[in-house]
Assembly symmetry: D2
Homo-oligomer: 489 residues x 4
């Protein structure tokens, strides 16, 4: 609709974005209301749409809506329709357009073995290949979501009981998946063999919870029990919880970018507090790339914890030199060149009084395309900064992610086509420093990156993917589209 070049809103969207958050609870009154709260706490993992499926002992109820949890699932009528003491939910980031509600999870189907709902965070990297095989056998897909592929695999399994069918299905999957599923009797949680995406187990007065992050436990005062292990499948029933390990054991490769940007600072992932690690990163950065300066200014809000760490380590005062406007709606339209060339500051404004005449260290979490950094540096210079030194709380991002993260194609990543010096020129700073990959590993508590067997998935920094990428590699990777398509609305 809107020509990107003519709009003003891309300004500060220059981030990788996690695509999903999941949450489930089993055996608790008002289950759907609790899932709503859990998803609200996970809203940073996906803002476009959300869905909840509940089971009331005899019937499943499904609600899926486009919009923020706080706008769509807080209506009494919606919550009232989601009866039952068991429910799972999902919130998702905007991906390739147009598909609308059909791609919103959880997916639900009435199988010959009973109802099954599935939602996941991640990306099945062989979904299209599996889908094509299923289509040849007569399966009809009603969406373009890889989650539906899981449903069809369970539906066409020749195993008898749901556990075995489910295991047969997930063994055919490649890629990253932290999934929750609901049947009339069970809630199931699975983490892929590498444990790329997070999934934690919680407990609310005896009811089991599955959630992407611990902050979703905090919102309702639930107790954190433990992270699911890579490759683990937990099955919750009214009798309790059991744990399965249906995959070949592998070394964990958790996504290190969750620490850098995706996870909420108040979450703890794999035993480490995210805010703490971000402060470590800032301190590490101050040690790796020190600079003489008057103030440390975060690019809010994602650069703030690292900036505090940097400030404390470097002994340079931390100041709010950039103010963020949190009221950002849809794309702003600029009807003419007159406005497009004005350098409008929709989301960030320099606090001139703090900046004027100062040597400023700007701290940001990452650089993706670089266009936002360019604008922010210009804004700080226009506000009278004497020097601008940019420090980035991660290594240069040089490669796309295929594990459930929205990233530009590689060629658009600034670091994939420029050296650090060229980048410094491009964004017009007096100096530019990135954290080293070893510095990042140190900040999360390792001695450094184990080059033989890296402890994390860091493909976006290193271009080394922990799995094969079947759909992506195939010559024939054109997506088949629009299946049981609905129009309207």
């Amino acid at each position: 609709m809107v020509d990107a070049a003519a709009s003003l809103s891309t300004e500060a969207d220059d981030h990788f974005h996690d695509e999903c958050g999941v949450f489930g609870i089993f055996g608790r009154q008002d289950a759907a209301a609790i899932v709503t709260l859990g998803l609200h706490a996970l809203q940073h993992r996906g803002q476009e749409a959300a869905g909840i499926v509940s089971y009331d002992g005899s019937q499943f109820h499904v609600e899926r809506h486009v919009g923020l949890i706080g706008d769509t699932f807080t209506k009494q009528s919606v919550i009232d329709r989601l009866q039952g003491t068991r429910a799972i939910g999902h919130t998702r980031y905007a991906t390739t357009g147009g598909a609308g509600l059909r791609n919103v999870q959880p997916f639900f189907a009435e199988l010959s073995t009973g109802g099954l709902a599935v939602a996941h965070n991640g990306n099945i990297t062989n979904a299209l290949t599996v889908q094509r095989t299923l289509q040849k056998q007569g399966s009809i897909f009603s969406s373009t979501s890889d989650t539906e592929t899981i449903l069809h695999l369970v539906a066409t399994s020749k195993e008898r009981d749901i556990n075995s069918r489910f295991i047969e299905a997930i063994r055919q999957l490649e890629g990253a998946f932290s999934l929750v599923a609901l049947t009339s009797k069970k809630m199931i949680g699975v983490r892929d063999p590498l444990g790329i995406r997070p999934l934690v187990l919680g407990d609310l007065d005896g009811s089991w919870i599955l959630a992407s992050e611990t902050c979703a436990l905090d919102i309702i005062g639930a107790r954190f029990v433990r992270d699911l292990k890579p490759g683990e499948m937990v099955v919750v029933t009214s009798k309790g919880i059991e744990s399965h390990f249906p995959f070949e054991p592998q070394k964990s490769r958790f996504c290190i970018f969750e620490y850098v940007y995706f996870a909420r600072p108040d979450s703890s992932v794999e035993g480490r507090n995210v805010y703490d690690i971000r402060k470590n990163i800032g301190a590490e950065l101050a040690r790796e790339s020190p600079v003489e300066a008057d103030i440390v200014v975060p690019v809010p809000d994602s650069g703030t914890p690292a900036a505090i760490g940097f400030s404390q380590e470097a002994g340079i005062p931390f100041e709010l030199g950039i103010i963020r406007n949190h009221y950002v709606g849809r794309t702003f339209i600029s009807p003419g060149d007159s406005i497009r060339h004005m350098g409008v500051k929709l989301k960030h404004n320099a606090n001139r009084r703090m900046i004027e005449g100062k040597r400023v260290v700007l701290v940001d979490d990452s650089i993706v395309r670089g266009t936002t950094s360019q604008k922010i540096v210009q804004m700080v210079r226009d506000a009278g900064a004497k020097e601008v030194h940019m420090r980035i709380a991660s290594p240069p991002t040089r490669a796309s992610c295929f594990y459930g993260v929205d990233t530009p194609e590689k060629a658009k990543l600034l670091a994939s086509r420029m050296s650090i010096e060229e980048m410094a020129d491009f964004i017009r700073v007096d100096s530019l420093g990135f954290l080293t990959i070893d510095g990042l590993y140190r900040a999360v508590g390792e001695a450094g990156r184990n080059e033989e067997q890296p402890q994390f998935c860091d493909a976006c920094f290193t271009d080394q993917y922990p799995t094969r990428l079947l759909d992506h590699e195939g010559a024939d990777n054109v997506r088949t589209l629009s299946l049981l398509a609905t129009g309207g609305q």
Copy 2:
């Protein structure tokens, strides 16, 4: 939502309702706009929702909307999205609630053999049975519509070419179905072996058309070619049209109620003009149930042609003694008893001046529950009629229809539990006459009903169904529900 007892709108909905109309055109610029016009002419066959699928040479486009064609498909944006020179469409009557857009036809799926869209008028009487078998084999249904069953049968066929797959699929169907289908290369039309629902072939300057009724050809000035034969399957390609007869040949059993009420009076069905037949019915009725009276008054609008026929045969003047208000929206709410007991006349009003002091023959097409007739008779009496004689242009309706018609369960049909005398008492008329079944057959041009081998489907009058009713008879006929359910909207 609204307690039926508390609302005012059921007043004149006391009719059987045909559930669907279909329309398709192949090889004509602006195909979807033409389908829109065709469906508009078929709006009397279904007012709740409609859908159109078009194919533009490389892609299928699907639009499905709740509401009248004239409200939903007349938006420029909707039509613009339906590119292509081939399109099929469907309009449907409200059926069992809540399913929303998921049950709106045409259904479309991307099969391994390419895209396939299907829409039909009728009812597959073994759909649930087939569906359960398919589910056991791993098929996932995303609606409760019998049309989706057809798609799955085609999808799971082991045949190679689409014609053979389609034939294998429809041979497994029982019941009534006049269907249109669209693939990337073909438009297909099928009538069930008994030809229960209508389907005609038309031609617009060389482009083939399939439509439920001839009035849909008239609206665009297309030429009527012929009715499809019972059991015929026509396949239209860019090379022309071919005809197949994949079923065992059977005697035709066209729905005789199409003549009584469903079809539009300006349509011709199976070679007979509907208005003409309705006038015949009125004349036949005048002969079978003559009465001394001053004026013949139709219950508008469905009773009008028969009333004209009655008037001409009986030599009693035809007068608009009841005026119909065509502006009827959703259910009127009456907040209190004060209004509910006022006998509000939302849809019909007596024309007092015409009626006062007269002996009135009221002509209506049928009596279903009888409640509307009761109110209308009371209204005519209140307007001062000296006598009220009701004449019904069909035999008593005693049985439900399972062939794509919305009928109350049998126990709610007045004629299933009362004799004609009791009915006359119930609706409080001085005399009540129904057309005999033989009279009806005479009106459509037969000598009478062939009791051995009835020429039409007349099950609603005779309780004799021309097919078995598998789903209905099965003990286990509880519908499995909500499959790939969407919430919202």
Copy 3:
């Protein structure tokens, strides 16, 4: 938005349209629900928007909505907000675009003397002139409606009691107005001195009703009491009803077109039944313009009563040779010339079987621009009519109406620029007959038109207006626009 030339919907809108209907009830539980029903029965007098104001003993409640009564005022929430035992309502025809809800009546204002709501049917022909004077004195208008002018006149009156203020206000008005007003103590009804628009008094179990037509009494079973007299002002309070005559007495000049087309056939206006008069008109037409023919066919629905009258007088059978499709939504879009030139028949279809080979008398109520007649005649010819004779149930309409009727400007009226012969050529009929002006007067029960002192307003036929047209005549008649404008929804 839509280029008229590119759309298909103007086809059968070729009528004058009455702009408004009014309804009020005083002293009855569920007053607003009753007003809703009354307005529903008056929907033919205005379909674009409606409003209701109720008073609950301490507060006024106002609801105004765009759309049909049956769609907007039947929602429980809307009715629930309109508490009270006194209410007035108004329904209006679409007029000059864009003004939206601001121009929807009734208008309500809190004056220093208390709340006052006013709605009227008609047109104040000196409204702009009065408005300009009021603006100079500091009045601020929030709409472009002439009804608001009445409110300001009452607001700025120097009289003390509401009756006197109201009388002072209406004495300054010129033109046509049948109005209803509501204060905290009174319901007021006024007809202009010439009684151009209808207004009747009814009674529902002791509660007084004011309504534009008797059909609005019938729908709720209310008793017709009498027409208000021209120039009469009735004031209903909880003590009863009183009658005032604040104007100089004048001879009545009721709008004769109400009989021809505006009023519903089941209404009685000024003691005459509308259907009856329309049949008289048909009979008169058969006498004035006889023709040898096989069938009499109405252009439905407005031509039907006259066609019945013609048929009975001429002894030629009445047949439904044209079928009307009542499902007409918004403007149909035709994306290309291919469709625009197809002669699409959205609203009417010829019943070929009835028409083929016949000599047809087509009966319609009036000819405005003539384009619809042209299309209908062509359609009847295409259906095979041997001869087509058009008979019009009114004299040629040569002049615009300024009394609350939506008419094209004079130059667009076919009869203003063609003789009857030229018109016959234009619409391509074998013969064309209009009723004479004296024939019309005879049909309504007069001996003929009194040329000295015409008994009715017939300006659209004769170009003789019964009042001066101050705003229209003024050189300075540019409307001042958009006052307390609201945008958007």
Copy 4:
């Protein structure tokens, strides 16, 4: 709708709220788009609704919408309708419910002298009294907004030119008002004689701008010229700008709470940078109420600048011990007690790892009802804080504001009914410190409060109002309601 007790969202709304922001520009292409951006930067001053009026040289255009600027005024269609090179806009906070669009500013009226649009920030404290007088003279109000009163005063003025009429009007006003107005020739800006609300003059390449705060200049790169003086009226025409002082000169009484909370930290008001002052406040607080502690934690986001100031002055590390969730939609519904009593943390979450075992100084800007403070303290304690010391960056708020700020009635203000010790008990902290009134005056650069002649309006802290409060004091202060009311929506 929703029972407050049953909902979860009041949690952190415990603030005074400024009610409005204004913005205008004169003589610049795409004026409305620029106003949109300016209002977006002022969104913190009012989030419920907004309006813009533009003038295109011949016509005024008005758009008013409920919702955030970024959602409503960013649509191409809305901006396209606001043609012209001159425009003013307004954004407002939710106030007393239900009035809907009618109360959204700017107000526009076509007066006898031409079009006039007015919007203001503040509150006219004698509006009702003036309104009643105007009503007695026949003025009709279409809203309950005090802004409409200004329009009526201009409309009924006997002066000839618009400047004089405007001056006559504003001289009758009491209270706080920073207003912008637009006529066909002029843009006018006025600050009330005490200069209670802010209003600044800016310049964008030669086009004059009026705005509530400097941050609205920054967003478009406009130059800050100066604050308007208390009592100043500036008139911008195409020839330039002129300045008038129509009021009796008085000492300035700017709202000191603008510094504490209302204004954006990056704005400069009356020559002082807001962030700077808030840091001063924090430092002052650290001196007035020192405490031994391990970390300083802001209640985000409003407590952050003061917390930084406190941390730097006290030498205690600043840490993000509380994380704020910025995704907050409408009220969350909790269907049962089970959830209501869970202590759900919708908006804030404690960062347990940072807080556990620490002595925490919590810094917040103010305490209104105290309920939020209570919850936050509990949350911090639950996270394991060893001690919790609350420091408030303003004196206790003991009195309501009548100058355009949404405040609870006095009895609901915690400080109006408790001593500081009682408050400390109520919110359960180890110590509680408020800034003194003199400390606040020092932080803004004064030596202290001049008790004879206070330099600011500080009525909310001192109960000393700088103007009389006519409407409020009057015995007869019941608001007359709903004037030219619209329903709909």
